[in-house]
Amino acid sequence: MIKRLARCVREYRPYALLTPVLVLLEVAMDILLPMLMAVIIDSGIQQGDPRMIGKMSLGLLGCTFLALVFGVLSGQTASIASAGFAKNVRHDLYYNLQTFSFESIDRFSTSSLITRMTTDVDYLQQAFQMSIRITVRAPFMLAFSLIMAFHINHRLSLVFLAVLPVLGLLMYLIMSRAHPIFETVFKMYDKLNTVVQENLRGIRVVKSYVREEHEIQKFQRTSQDIYVTFSRAQKLVSCIMPLMQLCMFGCSLILSWMGGRLIVFGEMTTGMLVSLLSYAFQILISLMMLAMVFMMLVISKASAQRVVEVLEEKTDLHSPDAPVTQVRDGSIRFENVGFSYAKDAKKLALKDVNLTIQSGETVGILGGTGAAKTTLVQLIPRLYDVTQGKLLVGGVDVRDYDLSALREQVAMVLQKNELFSGTIKENLRWGNQDASDQELEYVCKLACAHEFIQTFPTGYDTYIEQGGTNVSGGQKQRLCIARALLKKPKILILDDSTSAVDTKTDARIRQAFAQEIPDTTKLIITQRAASVEHADKIVVLDEGEIADIGSHEELMERCNIYREVYTSQQKGGGVDETV
């Protein structure tokens, strides 16, 4: 895990390595201070020698100045290294995400991917910066101070050897108890945030059912849990400060007592005692720092794990070594195709699909909820790989194509579609970066989007809010269709993409397709039988299997499911009311 993350340091390696060195130098300077101070007190003040004071103080000032320089420099290098590290981690995460298959996206879930790329990276950045500064500083400070203390008087310094392990153990006990509680607390925070998020999304439902109080109570229950648990953790941690003080006071008193005696017997000087006390202070402070850093690192371990999971996710959808880069035509053939999301041949979502579609045909796909309509079409641009059998596009197995070449030719309008913040033009140009304004207008006319875009004061330059919240559902769908058309694909797949479009417009869009892009193979998934009534071919799916294929007339004759669907939408027969 550490190894993978360490690979992200890359070009910032010199800074990352330089930082501990600088920190080390700074610590060395800091350590010298009390030592020199002892000389000043003993040989200068006590002996009343101003020259000595002058000499030593030059040394002291030199030391502090150097410490300052090293300290500031290490701060600089640390910030460069850690910001760079975070940049690289984010970069690697995001780039790897781009290679993710749909399956990986599903498995990680969007919100978890976002957290990993934002919050988790932030924690890692902080942890990294800490590691190269404080994690170096604290132990060195501790070690150096101890050495110096022993150097001054090893008998007195034994006090530290007695106190340190006890303090260390106590702190470890507190931390190891507090840590799981903190983990729990953060999980509770997640839960709390879920409640808020659901309420934001479902505010209309909450208000309609007058469930404000109910929701507030739900929130407060979790909030109360956090209060109780967090307090418990905080109380544990709050013992650290007094504990530190206790040790510090204890040490200094013992040192005072024993040191005082030694001075009286002439075995030690006053200056030594003063510097010993300074070292005692430094030793305990560095121990506390160490404990804090330890805690930080343990907490960020979870973040590191989550980040590495994404970094190491390998997609199994690759372009082959010698890929086919041209899609000849828009013909599609399924040969005994079986598919399972779990890659388990026993849990097939699609079974024994055999289907041949000629280039330029319009094919309707109908079926109940869970009939695997979406699953079927997602195999065509190779968003998932078939589990069994073979799928040919333009006469070539989809697995032999260069992935982007294939997807360039297969435009798919997803059921859950997204617009992005930016102008309408920018959104449309997803389909083709270099499209001219005329081309944009043309596809928008085809998708019946031109008319409403024109009613906007700023027309095609109208800014779409994140998630397309400032256009209606039907408008959004039409923009998504236009965007797909701009690709001039050989195959166009509409996955229930006109459900929010009113029937009249729906019909006009289909008519435009028939007239303007006759050579494009069009696959239309829909709930409205009338939408596909005039298709060349209608595929009826039922629980992952093809129940029947045929024209409207044929299916009316022999397919129960189709007849049922069609007549239920006709209710009363006569005219086709669904347009």
Binding site: V196, V205, S231, D496
Partner: protein, 637 residues
């Protein structure tokens, strides 16, 4: 313990900046919350004082020890250490009290900080629940969400770390300062001068660091926003082979953030060594000046005095360093607090209604009276000015009288809408997207208030009704199903919290959801996520219909409820829906004309006006827009 993330949402608040006035105001407000723990705070103050006193005495003790015990003892032949031991033991006692006080105030402070956080958290959510729908329309979820995540997070940092530290640092500073004065006036002067230099430096560095931090937060906000948006649309990115372009913009933002973060941290990282080493320089200067003073015999400074003063100067620059480190997070937290308070200051949904909905039953004489238990009968309870109360049976008669409405002033979306629905009637709205169908139904349950005209419900103006009671009498099935994390059972029961299991089953059966629910792994106890991603769109819709069914309201609003259920499921739903609709006034918005044909009346809307109205047969006979819509297919294809 965990360093807070401190990043505002995509539309973060730091960019707006905060005036000093506001910062002060937020601080005062925050203290008001903490002031609820008066006794606790007083205790904390007392304990901090005791602790600081013990600390300072400890630092001064060195002087006593050296000057009064050690040095005199070196002069005598057979030193007697008992007096020194006594002094040390007395000090030990004082220390123990100090440690006890520290333990106590740390503990008490936990209660204050956690309690305050909980209080603010709860109030924030409770207040949000009471905001009008308009507020949610005009604020993005990300923006609101970031108040719960980032802002509360910074607040947590402030309350559980910064404030306690600032308090104890402040008190320590004061005590140490007094102690220093007692030891040596000239040296104290030196310290004051140094502190002046220090604060100047900190102000300089800290000031520009704060600016860069703001910049960092801004860029972080936009990068996180970008990541969020693109990841949500990742499937679209894949389908459009848009990976390379997505990377491009990401790289630019990422680079920008790296630069800003480097810049901000550079300064912040320099702060600590700067402070520490300035502290060291001060330490050295004291030794030198003190030494010279002692040698020259100025100001009666003794060796012990210098030793003590050295300790004191450490104890003085320590807290200053701590305070300076906290400043950034305090400023950020106060900005966060500002955003939280801002939301709390939003005007809640107004509800001046006095008419309430009560369970009713008939008296012997056939008049209505209120009763305790749930009956199948409901009544509007109308209090009058003269103190009398009348009851009016809830029937579900809805009338619009010349209603105009605009979401944004001067941009009316509904014009002069008048219509009536008698109890049990089914009214359907038909029209293109944006014609105002959904808006009409949003007015009935008073999600929005009218600009002009009025709506009467059972003859009572709906503005006179209590909103909660009005909404309770209306069942709603929305286009977005919005289920909540919990079991299927809980989700259906959302419609009526006291519904029994049997009633839930019955409602599910009515909606046609019972079948598929039983086939779920844990049946009714199957856990679903908030977005219900384990269920298909259709199944979610069935559950939301069951949810409305269990509420059993006299009036139903069905907003495009059936549009994404497949036809076979739909026929099941339709049957359930029909029985749900019988005896209820129903408003339907649907794209499929088949679902509206058997309505009592169909309203055809265009650009916010009712252009045609009547039954299916009447409208067809009229040969207008409805007829065109209805027969449009043949003209088009």
């Amino acid at each position: 313990m965990r360093q807070s993330r401190q990043s505002p949402g995509p539309r973060g608040g730091f960019s707006r900046g905060q005036s000093l006035q506001e910062t002060k105001g937020n601080m005062v407000r925050l203290f008001k919350y903490m002031a609820r723990y008066k006794v606790h705070l007083i205790l904390v103050a007392v304990f901090i004082l005791v602790n600081a006193y013990a600390m300072v005495q400890g630092n001064l003790f060195l002087q006593t020890l050296i000057d009064q015990h050690i040095l005199p003892l070196t002069q005598v032949e057979n030193p007697d250490f008992s007096r020194m031991l006594g002094a040390i033991l007395r000090m030990a006692g004082l220390y123990l009290i100090g440690v006890g006080a520290s333990f106590a105030y740390n503990r008490v402070m936990v209660v204050v900080s956690q309690g305050t956080q909980k209080q603010i958290r709860d109030e924030l959510f409770a207040h949000m629940q009471r905001l009008p729908l308009r507020y949610f329309d005009t604020h993005t979820h990300g923006d609101l969400m970031s108040r719960y995540t980032n802002d509360i997070d910074t607040l947590r940092q402030l309350l559980s770390q910064s404030i306690p530290q600032l308090l104890s640092s402040g008190v320590s500073l004061l005590f140490v300062f007094v102690a220093m004065l007692t030891v040596s006036l000239p040296l104290t002067g030196l310290v004051v001068a140094m502190v002046f230099v220090m604060t100047k430096m900190v102000g300089r560095v800290g000031g520009s660091s704060a600016r860069y931090f703001v910049k960092q937060q801004e860029v972080l906000g936009s990068l996180n926003g970008y990541i969020e948006e693109m990841t949500h649309g990742q499937k679209v990115v894949k389908v459009f082979c848009y990976e390379e372009q997505a990377k491009e913009k990401f790289d630019a933002l990422n680079q920008e953030l790296c630069a800003a973060a480097t810049q901000a941290n550079r300064l912040a990282n320099s702060l600590m060594p700067l402070m520490m080493n300035l502290g060291n320089i001060q330490y050295v200067l004291i030794a030198i000046v003190g030494g010279l003073l002692a040698i020259g015999g100025v100001g009666g400074l003794t060796l012990g005095g210098i030793a003590s003063f050295l300790q004191l100067s450490r104890a003085f620059s320590g807290p200053i360093g701590q305070v300076s480190q906290q400043i950034n997070s305090v400023i950020m937290a106060l900005a966060g607090a500002g955003r939280i308070f801002q939301l709390m200051d939003e005007a809640p949904e107004e509800d001046s209604g006095s008419v309430t909905l009560v369970n009713a039953c008939y008296r012997q004489d056939g008049t209505l009276q209120e009763c305790e238990e749930r009956t199948s009968l409901w009544a509007w309870k109308q209090p009058h000015d003269d103190g009398s109360v009348t009851y009016h049976k809830l029937e579900g008669d809805v009338r619009f009288d010349k209603v105009d409405f605009a979401y944004v002033e001067d941009k009316p979306v509904l014009h002069d809408i008048s219509l009536f629905a008698k109890p049990g009637q089914k009214v359907a709205f038909v029209g293109a997207t944006g014609a105002g169908k959904t808006t009409i139904t949003n007015l009935i349950n008073r999600f929005y208030d009218l600009s002009q005209g009025k709506i009467l419900y059972d003859g009572i103006d709906i503005t006179r009704m209590k909103k909660a009671d009005l909404r309770r009498s209306l069942g709603v099935v929305l286009q977005d199903t919005n289920l909540f994390t919990g079991t299927v059972m809980e989700n259906i029961r959302y419609g009526r919290l006291d519904a029994s299991d049997e009633e839930v089953y019955a409602a599910a059966k009515l909606a046609g959801a019972h079948g598929f629910i039983r086939r779920l792994p844990q049946g009714y106890d199957t856990l679903i996520d908030g977005d219900g991603s384990e269920l298909s769109q259709g199944q979610r819709q069935l559950i939301s219909i069951a949810r409305a069914a269990v509420a059993d309201p006299p009036v139903m609003i069905l907003d495009e409820a059936t549009s994404s259920i497949d036809t076979r499921t739909e026929s099941i739903v339709q049957r359930g829906m029909d029985s749900l609709m019988t005896g209820r006034t129903t408003f339907v918005i649907a794209h499929r004309l088949s679902t509206v044909r058997n309505s009592d009346v169909i309203m055809v809307l265009e650009l916010g006006r009712i252009i045609e109205r009547g039954s299916h047969q009447e409208l067809i006979a009229q040969g207008g827009k409805y007829h065109q819509l209805y027969t449009g297919a043949f003209e088009l294809e």
